[in-house]
Every structure is written in C-alpha cells, then in structure tokens.
C-alpha cells in the first residue's frame, strides 16, 4: 500500500451522517438564516448617528488646541508647557465624547432608566387584587385576520406556571403599526377594562409596556424616562419599553399629539354592574423620544384597509362573534386562497378573504399582512389559519416571525409556543396556524393545508 491508499483506508472508517444529524444541522442552519435576516434588517434600519455632534466636538477641541498654542507663546515656555498639556487633556476628553457619542445622547443615557425585559417578575409579595410577585411574559404575534396589518401583543401573568390573568391587545394605543410620525404602537396602555384603567384599582405594581418604531430611543411619562430595546422576540427593527407602574399611578396614554396637555383628566363611563355614572381618571401622556432626548412630533395617520369579505359555513360549530347580515356560505375568490387536502376531521368554519392588497408604504419596522384567514375546527379545538405577506412590499420574501424557533426535522417550519402558533414558509409568504391543542396538532393542520393561490406582487 502506498501513502494514498493508507490514508484512504483511514478515512473509510468514517460513516456518513445519519438523518437525525442532518435534521439537527438543518435546524441550526435555518436558525442562523433567521438570525441573519434579523441582524440584516436591524443594520438596515439602524438609526444613523448624526454627524453634526462629533463634528462640533472636534471643532471645539481644535479651537482649544489653537488657543492653547497661542497662550503658550504669550505666557512663556514653562507655563505654556503646562497649559499645553492641559489642552491635551481637554482634547482627550472631547475625543472620548466624540467616540462614545454626543452630549445629546448622554441626555437619554444619564437621565433615563433601563427597560424591564419582556419576561420577568413583578416586584412585591403576592396578595389579593394584585399581580405583585407574579411572573409576566409579553409576546408579540402577527395578526392573522385577513385585511389587517398589525401586531397582537399579549401579557400573561403566571404563578407556579399557572396563568393568573392576561390581556390580549390588538394594536393597543397609538397606531396599528409604527410610522415615522406615529412611532408608538401596541402594548397594554390606553386600556379601559371593566371599571379599571391602567394600574388603578389594582394593589401593588403592575406592568406597563409599549412597542415602538426603530427611531424611538426612549419613552417619557412624567419624570420617568425608559430606554427602549430591541429583541429577536420583537418585530424586526421595532423596539419596546417595559416598566412597572405603581399602584394608583395615572393612566398612561399613547395618543398624545403636539399642542395637547401632557396631563389631563377624562371621564369614563363605568360598566353597568358597577356604580352607575362616570369615573374620573387622571391621564398622563407617553412621549416618544429620539436619540437626542427630544420628543418626536406625532400626528395621527389612518392606515389603508381593504374591504374584507366574510363567509360562514352553515352549521359552523364555532361561529364568529361579529356576524354580518347574510354572510356567504363559502369563501369568494380572493388574492390568496387556502386549500385543504386530507385530515377529513378538519372543518372550515368561517373566514375572511380580500380582493386587493393595499401596501402599508409608510410603515417602519417589519410588518406582516394577512391576505386570507380561515377558522377551522378539529376534535373540539378551534384553530385559525392565515397567509402572511409583507405589508410594505407584498411580493417580497417575509422575514422571520418574532420569537419563533425552527421545528426539528421540518425545514422551513417554525413554532412559537408562547404565541401559540406554528408556521411554514411557502414561497414569499408564511402559512400560519394558531391555536389548537399544541404544536403537534398545529403541525398536522399545517400538513393538511396549502396556499392554492397567492396573487400578490411588489410594486
């Protein structure tokens, strides 16, 4: 045997990878691809550092140096040397300022506090009528109802892994999605629950949060400034601010507009079963701040909404809550269609189709748009299926679903357990199934569904 044959015989001892290994590797690759997409989007949307501040700092440093040189000549050699070294120190300080950021950014950094994370624990001990001591988890999921482009936000309070309470909010206050002039959206502020507004009526701290567009560095309400943060659990490019609200604090509102008072009092009708009349509520505006700590001027924008056609199967077990008069019994042709094959127990109950997609061109941050949705029923479980496309450029390939992780052994399929949804990539869209008994059932439903029509394109 020569050296090549010897080496070949050594190498022949190694076996090809088994299918499980390949599946694991595929899952890791898909996770990397999703992370890369998130990072790329973040880079693309990163707020450019204003060049004016470093330039100004450099100019000041240059002036200092020139004046020091002049004074060296005037004051004599020894005194001048000291001054010269002092000017160098000043230059170092200014250079540090240039490197680490401008004085404007220091306003946000020094006078603000860090946001709480998306998952954490409310301070305090557990007691009745309070969420103190509970764990909280904030999840953000795409809307699946056809015709709407917004993010659903949900906060769940749990104790010993049992849900104590929660609030499901579609859009929350502010706008349905962030725009340059309306960057606050989602969250649990601006909520008027039965006889209670914000933290009022609750003992102990509660959790407040809002989602923001990429340009919001912090939010301010009263004397508190909370820095925002980005996360893979959030829509790409978007940010969040999470904070604890003490008992009895004013209700926070995102709908502030320039010229309006920061603090106000509103009268809200209470629920009939409570004391009749109006409840007086103190309101405090939440202001979005830019990198310099300046409030971002906001004005209301009304997003385009396509007309949605609702249908309802005769004898549906889980009818929709808002039935229009005389709904169709079958879905009419739309820009997107779902088809079912196999899994005969899966029954379509009702749903919505749209005949045109109106791109949300002014949206910033990742935004999905559902172009068809159907409510199914399987073995006692309701499940919602929807087809998501890019809301800004509907023909583009969609980015990652926030918080979703690849499903091992199923390329292109992701699951978001906390969001109760499972999705499969299909061309430039996501086919998403939400609800059901768990991921196994959602995967079965996904296997039985396909997108039979996807007539959307970039303009």
């Amino acid at each position: 045997m020569n050296e090549i044959e010897l080496l070949t015989s050594l190498g022949d001892e190694v076996q090809a990878p088994d299918q499980q290994t390949v599946d694991r590797l595929r899952g890791r690759l898909l996770a990397h691809i999703d992370q890369a997409a998130v990072a790329e989007e973040s880079r693309r949307r990163a707020v450019r550092w204003p060049t004016a501040a470093p330039r100004a700092a450099f100019a000041v440093a240059l002036d200092l140096w020139l004046s020091a040189v002049a004074r060296t000549r005037a004051l004599g050699r020894r005194w001048g040397r000291w001054m010269h070294s002092r000017s160098h120190s000043a230059m170092v300080v200014f250079a540090a300022l240039v490197i680490t950021g401008s004085a404007a950014s220091a306003v946000v950094s020094l006078n603000s506090s860090r946001s709480q994370p998306l998952t954490g624990k409310v301070p305090g001990a557990i007691e009745p009528a309070s969420v103190a001591g509970y764990h909280y988890t904030i999840t953000v999921t795409p809307n699946l109802d056809a015709g709407g482009a917004f993010w659903n936000t949900f906060i769940a309070y749990t104790r010993n892994h049992r849900t104590g309470s929660g609030s499901n909010v579609g859009g929350g206050g502010g706008s349905p999605y962030p725009t340059p002039t309306n960057p606050l959206f989602g969250g649990n502020l601006d909520q008027f629950e039965s006889g209670r507004v914000g933290a009022q009526g609750l003992l102990g701290d509660t959790v407040g949060y809002t989602l923001t567009g990429p340009a919001v560095a912090a939010v301010r309400f009263g004397s508190r400034t909370i820095r925002t943060f980005s996360s893979p659990e959030l829509p790409t490019g978007d940010r969040a601010a999470v904070f604890f609200i003490p008992q009895g604090a004013p209700a926070l509102t995102l709908d502030w507009r320039p010229g309006q008072p920061i603090r106000s009092v509103v009268h809200i009708p209470v629920m009939p079963e409570k004391t009749a009349g109006l409840m007086q509520v103190s309101m405090l505006a939440v202001l979005p701040l830019d990198d310099h700590g300046n409030p971002i001027a906001t004005h209301a924008t009304i997003p385009p909404t396509p007309f949605a056609y609702y249908w309802h199967a005769p004898g549906a077990i889980t009818p929709g809550t808002a039935l229009p008069p005389h709904p169709a019994s079958h879905p009419r042709p739309g820009v997107c269609q779902l088809a079912q094959h196999g899994l005969r127990a899966l029954r379509p109950e009702w749903g919505t189709v749209i005949t045109q997609v109106l791109p949300a061109k002014n949206a910033v941050g990742e935004l999905f748009f559902s172009c068809v949705s159907t409510e199914y029923y399987l073995h006692g479980w309701p499940l919602t299926a929807g087809v998501l496309v890019d809301a800004r450029q509907p023909g583009q390939v969609l980015g990652a679903i926030p918080g979703a992780r690849p499903v091992t052994g199923r390329p292109g399929t992701v699951d978001f357990d906390a969001g109760n949804l499972t999705a499969r990539r299909s061309g430039q869209a996501w086919l998403v199934v939400r609800g059901g008994s768990g991921v196994a059932q959602r995967l079965r439903v996904l296997d039985a569904l396909r997108i039979s029509k996807l007539s959307v394109h970039s303009r």
Binding site: L6, L10, V22, L25, R26
Partner: protein, 216 residues
C-alpha cells in the same frame, strides 16, 4: 415543489424547480430567497460532514459543519459564479475552520492511531503479525501526517478524504493549481520518507487511483 420565482413579473410565475439549478444559480438566488440555500445544504451536507469527521474529533464535527454552512450563507453574495459546483468552496471553508481547531485535529489523528486492529496484537499467527505491522505503519502515518506543513496537509487531505481534483483544491484553497501540485507532491514525498523506516511500500510511485485527482 419549491420553484425559482421571477419577481419582476406581474404575478409570481413558476420558472424552474430549484432542484434543477446549479449551486452557483442557487447561491445567486439565495441573496433574496434564503430558501434556495437549503438546497445547497441538502446537496453537500454529507460530504462536508464526512470530510470534517475525518479531520477533527467527533465532539466538534457537528459544530464545524454548522459553522461551515453558516459562514457559507453569510458569504453567499461573494461566491464566484463561474464555478457551478459549490462543494470545493464549502470544503475550503471547512478547511479554514479546521485550522482554528488544531488541537482537535491532533486529537483526531491520535484517535486514528489508537483505533487499530487491537485484537491482532496478541495473536501469534502470521496474520496477526501482519496486522501488528499494519498498526505500526498506521501510527507512523498519523505521526507523519501531523508533522506535515499545514498547507501541504490541507491540500493532500482535500484530495484523499474529500476526493477533490487539483483544480477543485485550487478553488477551495484559493491558490494556483501549480501550488496545489507542488504541495501535494511535497506532502507525499515527506510521508514516504517518514514511512520508509517502518515498512517498505510495494509500488510507491503508482499514480493515484481515483480519477478526480487527475488534473488537466
């Protein structure tokens, strides 16, 4: 079936199944459609895995395979379109990663030396003696391999364990094909010299048997 899509068309039109595209075409498409990269992964994960399993310890193989494809995905925009087959490129990335795992490579080579025809050592028959010789040769081969210059070893092992031709090795290591020839010749000569003291080779100068190694 996944298809390449023509985005300029008014409607999304099926053009050609992704599976029929070359690696170069897939990598070009992967710039806008990451799903295309998955086909490249499916095509080449097995040879990349086998190559790395031959070169580093089992414990790090999977990580390096994952790193190889992750790096390839990140660099997909820089892939040279004149090469339709991406296997040499992927193996080149894998080889570069191995260079950062020299300890693991050395441990893998040591494992080759440990794992041999153990049962033959105690035997007294002629076959057992032959196996003992084979083991001795094997140990020397492994020791000689670890003494090779890194570049020479990479070129030689890409040829023998990854079954790349000279041209493909040149593509993988981004060096001229003449350099590949000289590196492989140098490596073979050194191996022969180091092994001469252990067991004489029969026909040492026989040409390499597999045809991929023939360079035009």
């Amino acid at each position: 079936m996944r298809v390449a899509v023509e985005r300029s068309a008014d409607k999304m039109a099926a053009v050609e199944p992704l599976e029929r595209l070359t690696d170069a075409q897939l990598l070009a498409q992967a710039a806008s459609d990451p799903a295309a990269f998955e086909i490249v992964f499916v095509r080449h994960v097995s040879p990349v895995h086998r190559y790395l399993a031959r070169r580093v310890e089992p414990g790090v193989v999977e990580d390096l395979v994952a790193e190889t494809f992750a790096a390839a995905f990140d660099r997909r925009g820089r892939y040279r379109r004149e090469y339709p087959d991406a296997r040499p490129w992927l193996l080149g990335i894998a080889t570069n990663l191995v260079r950062h795992h020299w300890r693991s490579e050395r441990a893998r080579l040591a494992a080759y030396a440990r794992v041999g025809p153990e049962e033959a050592i105690d035997g007294a028959d002629a076959l057992a003696v032959g196996r003992a010789d084979a083991r001795s040769v094997r140990n020397e081969l492994v020791a000689a391999l670890s003494r090779l210059h890194r570049g020479d070893r990479d070129a030689l092992l890409l040829m023998v364990w990854a079954e790349l031709s000279y041209d493909e090795i040149a593509q993988a290591l981004e060096i001229p094909v003449g350099t590949v020839r000289s590196r492989i010749n140098r490596a073979r000569r050194l191996l022969r010299e180091l092994l001469d003291n252990v067991a004489p080779f029969g026909q040492q100068d026989q040409p390499i048997s597999h045809e991929r190694a023939a360079s035009p």
